[in-house]
Amino acid sequence: MLFLRRLLAPLLVFNISVGIFGACASPKDAGKSAAAAFSVALLTPGSISDQSWNGGAYDGLLRIRDSLGADISHIQTKTPAEFEENFRQYGAKGYSLVFGHGFEFQDAAARVGPSFPNTVYVTTGGTRTSANVSAMSFAFEQPSFLAGVVAASVSQSGIIGCIGGTELPPVKAGFASFAQGVHFVNPNAKVVTAYIGNWDDAGAGKEQALAQVARGVDVIYQNADAAGLGIFQAAKDSKRVYVIGSNSNQNGVAPNVTLGSVVIDLPAAFMSMAREVKSGQFTPRVHVLDTRSGVMKWIVNPALRSAIPTRALQVVDSLEQHMRAGTFTPPAATGTR
């Protein structure tokens, strides 16, 4: 053990001297990095080209840059080890606010938080909070219920599919609520659920979708990020099969087959967090974002509005108003993403 300490002593000295040196040098590059300026970073678990969960978050980051004049940085991370590494790197660089985009970032945020008290860490999903760590929780089940109502009204076969990336808690909660919505309209409808096993293999997504279509499914609710893009493709290749998008407004991805999207207005959610931090009013808590706060929405695809029975649209509108007023909550278990 003694030899180890001897071995490490020079390293320690080196470390301290670099620390002092670093402190002296910092005013020089204060302009380009952190310190006084407002700087915001985003860690996504997948590619921001998915037009969904990750793309929406990146849009939020861009809006923070454009509206609040923040310096921004983004990185795609794969493993819990990388979550922590990047949280620490941003903390060390003095970033004001760092988003970890998913519940899976919460342990890393809780662990890193105390080391960088001047940086606020926010995870989109999760429940852990501490002095400089908050979580945003999305009531994904609310608009999912409305999507279920629409799906059941449009389906002719009475067999409706759900396809997810992997079996994450918020995805499962969304599907459960979607099924409730389906059965609200048609108690005899069948809901089949499949998971692709990842979030980025569009080919595998397409295969899962085609397998469901072969079983008679004619409306698919997808929540699979980049892998979900293959599901839209499958619907385009099939006859009279519709898709419901999720996370971002995916109505434009495949306008001819997309009934609508279960949307998390991620940019709005990110902006509200950024404003809170910038104005110095940050308080650590779990921010529950739902239909009432305007962050969770069901958005019909205007191009396919005619494919949905008018009666169904009316039911959805009235349910939505009740949700906004807080007089109706889907009976499914509350999930968080």
Binding site: L4, L8, L11, L12, F14, N15, V18, G19, G22, A41, S73, H74, I75, Q76, K78, T79, P80, A81, E82, E84, E85, N86, R88, Q89, Y90, A92, F103, E104, D107, R111, S115, T166, E167, L168, P169, T336
Partner: protein, 343 residues
């Protein structure tokens, strides 16, 4: 020996130059700000004590374990490409045992968890070894397939028997401090696993070059039939031993990662360290001490690639492209050399 070591440094130097050339070419093709990206690469890998002690060395640690595992196997002619699965088996066992023994003092609990990881890694590659020796199943196929089984097994375990008590998140609860690797420096992430890995590199080198067992391993690797007839060596026994030792090294790598970095079992605990390990071992031309250098190099590359994305907006998957190019480059180089020798 001296000349051979010399040539190893030469290959390493040429490869580093090649890496830089490759990175620059890719950056130019992608239309990125090359100087800014390279500055970020350097900064993220070696630019500060923080980058070295909390990023580069942390990433180099698992690469060193699995690099040794692959290097040892290849030396004996065992084409173990299942280090990923063995690493996952090791991480899983370390966490499972770690959760059970968390109440014990650290001097007992941590070695128990690490030992379980090594044993699980050995058992996992032992399956492939048994299949090979008993039925002649090619280990290239069996170890690769076992990777997928391990991946899905982890997915199931974190949703089943090992899931955290609220049953919401697909992960285990956090290991108690008694099962967490001591940090080498407070405030930095580099942990005791690095020292362990470097020690094992030295030990593997010693065994391979200085002991009878090591001689047998090299003899079987050079030619199993000749080793049997000329040296009176039992190739099957040596092969079995190598399978187990290689798996144990990879398993220990997983255990070190779980107890030193992630402190819990998740899906995707490894970003493919077991596959990068093949590049690590090949770049070092299977020399255990050179594997330390190449693991550091790859650790630096991955840490630097992350910084490139953070600071210069260059996708960090660039590192994977460069790694693949290194493997191809080293293979082509070796091929050219052996052809040269035959001529």
């Amino acid at each position: 020996m001296r000349a051979r070591l010399h040539s190893r440094w030469l290959v390493m130097g040429a490869t580093i130059a090649g890496i830089f050339a490759a990175v620059i070419v890719i950056l130019l093709i992608g239309g990125y700000d090359t100087s800014r990206a390279l500055a970020a690469l350097w900064d993220g890998a070696f630019g500060s004590s923080y980058a070295v002690l909390s990023a580069t060395l942390v990433r180099a640690t698992p690469l060193l374990f699995v690099g040794l595992a692959v290097g040892l196997a290849f030396r004996a002619g065992v084409l173990n490409i299942g280090a990923e699965g063995q690493l996952l088996a090791g991480a899983t066992a370390a966490v499972a045992v770690g959760l059970a023994v968390g109440a014990l003092p650290r001097v007992l609990a941590l070695p128990l968890a690490l030992g379980a990881g090594a044993a699980a890694g050995a058992a996992w590659s032992g399956i492939a070894g048994w299949l090979k020796l008993r039925f002649g199943v090619l280990e290239v196929i069996s170890t690769l397939m076992l990777n997928f089984i391990a991946t899905y097994l982890v997915s199931w375990l974190v949703r089943g028997p090992l899931q955290e008590p609220t049953r919401v998140y697909p992960q285990t609860i956090e290991l108690s401090p008694a099962v967490q690797m001591p940090l080498l420096l407070t405030g930095h992430r580099v942990h005791l696993g690095l020292v362990l890995a470097i020690g094992l590199a030295g030990f593997t080198w010693w065994v391979l070059t200085q002991t009878a067992i090591g001689f047998r391993v090299r003899a079987v690797g050079a030619g199993a039939a000749a080793a049997r007839s000329a040296g009176g060596i039992d190739p099957a026994r040596t092969t079995a031993l190598v399978f187990l030792a290689s798996g144990a090294l990879a398993g220990l790598g997983g255990a070190s990662e779980a107890t030193g970095v992630t402190f819990a079992l998740y899906e995707g605990i490894s970003p493919g360290y077991g596959y990068s390990a093949i590049a690590v071992a090949l770049l070092a031309r299977l020399h255990p001490l050179m594997i330390i250098v190449s693991a550091l190099l790859f650790g630096a590359l991955e840490a630097g690639a992350a910084a490139m994305q953070r600071d210069a907006n260059v996708p960090s998957v660039l590192a994977a492209v460069v790694e693949a190019m290194i493997v191809l480059g080293v293979l082509a180089f070796n091929h050219a050399r052996t052809r040269g020798r035959q001529a």
